[in-house]
Symmetry: C2
Subunit: 592 residues, 2 copies
């Protein structure tokens, strides 16, 4: 059995001390309602729910998995999942960050991000159901008609219904331009949808009485490729004028997938068979609407990476402190015991510190990004809103790419600390590895994030977000160059940041001559950017720790230790990635 | 369904062209019998058996797993496993490399290594049963009495019985000194064994009529710790004087483990309850005997890494060539198709080339190491035998550590190429990831290999193996400094080799001041050494390709491409590991 205790103190440290969220949120529209007391109360309540309700269902949900009944096309989720969802909905968690006019609580996105981390640490598979509802909520908030919002959005916000994103088809994965699902107009202004979607998370389940599918499809007059994709809202049950459920719509699960992990999450093949739906947003502009929800979902998947790493860390640290095996090389540390604890071995500490650096740095990164979305949505200064939007859009592929890849490393190291026991199901560590494996794949693979970062956010958008971010880091370095507490980090950080700008220029120049150089550089550039980004947030954490009321003396020292470790042993990876980028596409020939 | 085709041509290239095994084997004692024709025929036959018999059982064995019946303590292996084993035994594969006087074929270990690779590519879980028999065979060949060899070894070599290695106990994993199983003398010279062992691969199954356990235990007068461990041979069924099976011995499986992967391999809890056994080798010297089998087993586990990576590569390359998704950044390559194949994307090629470099370099490394064991056993020159033994013992932790860790990377990248489909069980890629996860843990974790390399093979043994190896690489570099075919690789290789020697000296100096520095450096040093070792074998492969009759023009170019990729994008990792080593133990503080 694995343990999970919400890391409330470190969350508060990231939120208040590192990011100064109290002041930032206070100056936003509606911010006067978001007192620290309120945020703290929500965090406490979330910790209780996640530790007590969701965490105990994690292993059993994996062992039991979901079941599909062919006769009824119904999906049964693991024992306890449905009841946990009802508690979640009753607690108002579904509408935590949704707009008040749809029944939400309009709490800050940054708070939502911390709550999301707890959910995903407690139960990654379960957390996928509300994640999909969030995506649907976002899309309908931004692009739905008033009727669509009344009919579909409000029950989503209440948690009575759940949502999905129906994108992938067998021949159309990363390449949505290839999708074939058709939507033909009915006389009443609705559409008939026909086609098959795969990999639809939460496509069918027993949590809620209705499911709201947001489906990408082609209208009859659609241009080919990704410019001819429209978004439609397609409920599982049609909805009567009074909001009650009408007849069953032609949208049903045809099967569920047998997967490596997240077995409690129902991944469905969805068959649309003359299903009735309604256009969301303009015709052929479905990808724009989809990216609204996808951006939020990508940050959420980055948070999944952070979350599963946090739980892996808690368990491996716990084990390393308790398991007695071999003596320290410098002599017995606990001579009265049969052996010393694993923590006496430097390489065990390396594996633990690797996890801690990614978790604690990643937590600040995720919260910082979420805070940008609060600023983008509610700052009174349009310039601040614009800048926050650019920063957010730049940081999303970094957060998604880096934190999901780091989760592979963290869960691997956590399992390794358990030795052979890590491979055995009952210890629970191998579930973290299996669950984590999906996150570098869905919502855009690491390769897609890398192309989004380098091709779109840097090249097409002239790197506005990068410029803001480099400026912020440079300002931090300048302000703290003489500060004893952080000056050991400021030097390498300033150098790395300068090199980042230069490397970006160099890639742009190479790509002008040969666009394939972009593809050859992208993933290395993503890591390169990610490691520097994390270095910045870890250095800021050391500075914030100095004056923190939340951290003990040991806690402050721990922040310094984490940054020291990271700057000495992780940040140098940027040189490796630079060498790979410099080597260019000519070192990646066709495989003969 | 996954594919598997034995890479016979690349195996022959490694064996004959890179390593010149024909000449080496020919000059060894008994080598006149080992003609190229014979070796080729064995390889062909092995390919047939593994492609046709074992490979088709890989996915079904994973899905079905092993079953334990509490009432009879019997284990049922997946459908087809038992029959495959009977074919294996009838084909004489069990005794392929065993001594002729025990009924073996006494074929070279290097041939055994290539056959082992095929078995493990075809079916990693199944391959664990004969792997354990090999270990028991080795131990009894070297340390058994004549009676033990007649009674237990011959049926092992015939494949009628199988073997195990019973080391681990719940409190004694990496630290065998903590083991508690007791062996008390009977009046007839045998011993009564009592205790519980865990993680015993092939501890119980339905392949064979008897199982020969080699058990580590303490005699009543044993000193504490690892100096008080003895090895005993304990059959499942006692053996009558005529070799027929007698009564059931008190050695039985109490349970099997539910694991992340290798589900077709029965991992048993073994209860020894007044079991009768016989001492193998001298009292209290069990670890020495165990290391005889462990060294061979460690190389075999390195080969498991190579093998699972080979199969992952075959499948991901196949998929990347067939799957159409998106266009090349420089414009459509197959405009008549709806999209281009994945191979047009440089990062997909990076993931494929990463696998190919580790597989092809790893194959030469494994074969080279196995060839040293042939030389050690059968060279007529005692000096050559000694040197080969030192080289082998130095290379084993490198091969085990690097090839098993590389398998984590290779199987991860192979799955990544499949995108979301990689996570779905039916594509088979996730099984490779799950199966591969055990190999950095058993037969000594990566951390244990690293300490064996740096602490024992380098520091305690004054680095004799390293000196031979550095000398060999230096001679290669010197001889080929002006050779057009390889000079691009010789320069970086010579520099890296020189740095390797210097780094070793620097660590030794640091460790004198503080032994904890060894533990802080060991894993990074293992990778550092491994990457240079592989660079050498890839450079040698390029040279060998020039004059190879086995490779086409494309095949020769492919060897150059692989080395170019590796030297540009993988070998620079050594700088990262050096930075980590330089950072030292002070960057790995206690976790507060």
């Amino acid at each position: 059995m694995t343990i999970y205790k919400a890391p409330l103190n470190d969350m508060r440290f990231a939120l208040y001390d590192v990011l100064g969220a109290e002041a930032v949120l206070g100056r936003l529209e509606g911010g006067e309602a978001h007192s620290r007391d309120l945020l703290d109360a929500v965090l406490d309540e979330a910790a209780r729910f996640n530790e007590q309700v969701l965490a105990p269902l994690n292993a059993s949900g994996d062992a039991e998995g979901c079941h599909y009944d062919k006769a009824t096309a119904a999906v049964t989720t693991p024992k306890g999942f449905k009841e946990a969802y009802h508690q979640y909905a009753e607690g108002g968690w579904a509408g935590l960050t949704a707009h008040e006019k749809f029944g939400g609580q309009a709490l800050p996105a940054v708070l939502g991000a911390l709550v999301k981390e707890m959910i995903d640490s407690a139960n990654l598979a379960w957390g996928i159901y509300p994640l999909l509802s969030h995506g649907a909520t976002d899309a309908l908030e931004h692009h739905g008609t008033e009727w669509q919002q009344d009919t579909f959005l409000k029950p989503l916000v209440e948690g009575r219904w759940t949502g999905t994103m129906c994108l992938t088809e067998p021949q159309a994965g990363s390449d949505l331009g290839l999708l074939k699902t058709r939507a033909e107009p009915n006389e009443d202004g609705s559409y008939r949808i026909n086609g098959t979607k795969i990999f639809i998370s939460a496509g069918e389940h027993d949590f809620a009485e209705n499911i709201v599918h947001l489906v990408l499809a082609r209208l009859p007059d659609a241009p080919a490729g990704s410019r001819g994709i429209s978004m439609l809202v397609v409920p599982k049950f049609k909805v009567n004028a009074d909001g009650s459920l009408g007849e069953r719509n032609g949208a049903a699960a045809g099967a569920i997938e047998h997967k490596m992990g997240i077995k409690g999450s129902a991944t469905c093949v969805m068959n649309f068979d003359d299903a009735q739906g309604w256009l969301v947003g303009p015709a052929h502009k479905g990808l724009v609407a989809m990216f609204t929800m996808m951006n939020a979902a990508r940050l959420a998947v980055g948070i999944q990476g952070l979350a599963v790493s946090e739980r892996a860390l808690q368990n491996s640290l716990n084990y390393a402190r308790e398991r007695l095996q071999m003596r320290a090389l410098s002599g017995a540390k606990l001579p009265e015991k049969p052996a010393d604890p694993l923590t006496v071995h430097p390489d065990v500490r390396r594996m633990l510190l690797t996890q801690r650096a990614f978790v604690e740095g990643g937590r600040v990164l995720a919260a910082y990004a979420a805070l940008q979305s609060d600023i983008e949505a509610r700052d009174t200064d349009p310039q601040a809103r614009k800048q926050a939007g650019e920063l957010l859009s730049f940081l999303i592929p970094i957060a998604k790419g880096l934190l999901t890849e780091a989760a592979q490393e963290c869960t691997k190291e956590a399992l390794q600390i358990f030795g052979g026991h890590g491979f055995i199901a009952e210890h629970g560590m191998e579930q973290f590895v299996r669950d984590a494996r999906i996150i570098t794949l869905y919502e855009g693979t690491t390769q897609i994030q890398a192309l989004d970062l380098l091709g779109r956010k840097i090249m097409q958008l002239q790197g506005a977000g990068l410029k803001h971010f480099l400026g912020e880091v440079a300002a931090f370095c300048q302000a703290n160059a003489g500060n004893e507490a952080v000056k050991a980090f400021v030097g390498p950080l300033a150098a790395a940041t300068k090199a980042w700008g230069e490397l970006t220029q160099a890639i742009a120049a190479k790509a002008q001559a040969n666009p394939e150089e972009l593809g050859a550089a992208a993933v290395d550039y993503l890591y390169y950017s990610g490691y520097i980004t994390l270095a910045y947030f870890l250095a800021r954490s050391v500075l914030a720790a100095e004056s923190s009321q939340l951290l003990s003396a040991d806690g402050k020292q721990a922040k310094r230790d984490t940054a020291t470790f990271y700057f000495a042993r992780i940040l140098p990876r940027i040189h490796l990635h630079k060498a790979a980028i410099d080597a260019g596409v000519e070192t990646l020939p066709e495989l003969l």
